[in-house]
């Protein structure tokens, strides 16, 4: 691909398409991921702002201290699906599959998306999760999310009383 771009550059320099630019994302364990600038700025507000603050992308390395390599790899894989499709159907499906197969990984991805401010992907993932427990009983929600009930019986009764209209 790079030779092709250079040939164009020689031919008509003023109109030439710029070579595809990349930056490096560093996961918390030091692994490096080379990503296309357009692809990542399309998703991440944080990186978009960072690039504009730095005044360019040359040699830019972004350490993501909160994100491990497997999580970052999964997140970039999902961004890729999202960038390739005009509508959200495909990526919604992939997030759903991830949630069913590896809920913990999906939760990590959600945290990472929030961290790099990938707003629309983040909202979409929240919606997938919320859709899953729409209509569930509280016991089912706890079981699905693997949460222990730490309320006393009294507290539960109090909450019931506060929102009686919703539970009766």
């Amino acid at each position: 691909m790079s030779t092709e771009s250079k040939e164009i550059l020689v031919g008509e320099s003023s109109q030439a398409k710029p070579e595809k630019k990349t930056i490096v994302l560093m996961a918390s364990d030091g692994d490096e991921f080379v990503v296309d600038v357009d692809d990542i700025t399309n998703q991440s507000e944080m990186i978009r702002n960072l690039i504009s603050d730095m005044g360019g992308t040359d040699g830019l390395q972004v350490p993501l201290l909160n994100v491990t390599a497997p999580v970052l790899a999964k997140l970039l894989e999902l961004f890729n699906v999202s960038n390739k499709n005009d509508d959200d159907e495909e990526v919604t499906q992939k997030v759903k599959e991830l949630m069913e197969a590896e809920l913990n990984m999906m939760i990590d991805v959600l945290g990472a998306a929030n961290y790099i401010e990938a707003t629309s992907f983040f909202d979409l993932s929240c919606k997938v999760l919320a859709d899953k427990f729409k209509g569930m009983s509280v016991e089912e929600v706890r079981e699905f999310l693997n949460i222990e009930c730490d309320f006393t019986e009294e507290e539960l009764q109090q909450i019931h009383a506060e929102n009686a209209w919703a539970f009766d």
């Binding site: 990984m105 939760i107 990590d108 909202d123 929240c126 209509g135 693997n146 909450i159």
Partner: protein, 459 residues
Amino acid sequence: MSCSDDSGQRGTRINDLPEDILCSIVSQLPLQDRVTTSLVCRAWRRLWLSSSNWRLELQDFRGVSNKKQKFEELVDRVIFFPDRPHIHHLKLVHTDYDISSQKASLWIESLLNQQILDLDLNIMDPIPLPLSLFRCDTLVELRLCLHCDFISLPPNAVLLPRLKVLSLQKGHFIGDSLQSLINGCTLLVTLKLRECVVVGPEFLDITIPQTTLQEVILDKCHFLRDTKLHMSTVNLTTFRYKGLNLGGNMHYLNVQTSVEMVQLEPVEFHSVYSFSRRLGFSGTYGQNMSRTLAAFCNTKHMVLSDWCIEYLTNVPNAMRFPPFMRLESLRLSMWPNGGHVYVTTYLVLFPPLLRFLSLRISKAHREGMADDDRLDYPHPPDLLSTEMIHNNLKKVEIKKYGVLNAELDLIKFLLKNAVSLEKLSIKWCACVGASRRKSLRNTIRSYPLASQNLELYIH
């Protein structure tokens, strides 16, 4: 972020996420499910109340005893919930509100202090709206159902510098109040007026000068008879009109070259219309409609009601609109008579890029709709026997087809001339009996076809 939990499972658990993420998840749920989450565990107990996005409707309390009081308690809790980020989006539908209560004013005041972005209020009895609502510098979208309350706004009372979407329903605007409101929205993109009335002692034009304007929807509004509508046309892409008196309002429309979607669905009282025609105003109806259509010469999508077609049948030889060089889809309703078939054919024939056509044919259930009652209309020129290759038309659907001869001629004409037609579907009107359907199906199938790969669906 990864850690091991007690059950030995690898990875992060949901409660390891920061509270604002949990809140974002809960915010995606409908009200009932949000409340359920308060029972999950201590960390989740008040999560649902910290959402910045609400839709509170009295009807969700159906079946709850003492529902009005319970609903108002909930609204209080939500709006006045202390430690949380501001409410940004709120839809509040309270159709059993007691005007003597002061609650609504307090709600609105609090929301304005919370820098609300998107507010949708439908409160009945109608409440006096505080002037501060019209001077809010955070609002981006404002939707109000005013329940026929009279709105009086002095000039310069309104300043909504960020507002993009203004949608007003059932407002009765006194004098130039509506104009004041429009003027105060300096960045307006979408204006939607539904069942609004302008009440005034004199003729008032409505001007929407904002160059940011993209979409105008006027649905069953009552303006004064000679109200003229002036709109900025720099970026306008969508114009929809439903209701009475299209001719009156649109009389002075400028050419709207930017509009890509136009929907004109005037309605008319049959008695008033036929009376005016008898008084000799038939030509005026036709010319006004013709001129109105000409204003949208660059549209890509057009929806026309049967009354648009009816107006034009008054002037078959004097229709003055351009051939809609960019029109791609056309949906229209028509009556089953020769005049309407002529106007429809005329509209379909000339736009070179037209790909999709949808015709809905209504029954002649009133006097003046069928050919026998239309002897006083000008006789339309013969268009259907002309040869005119149509290169782009791909899909045609005809609904409630009642098989008048003129309608059959139109189908024959389309089949003969549309060389790229891929699909023609016809749904019968219920009044067409089984044997008649069969013979018509055979008739249609025997027509010469211009297109090589046509799918014909005759239901």
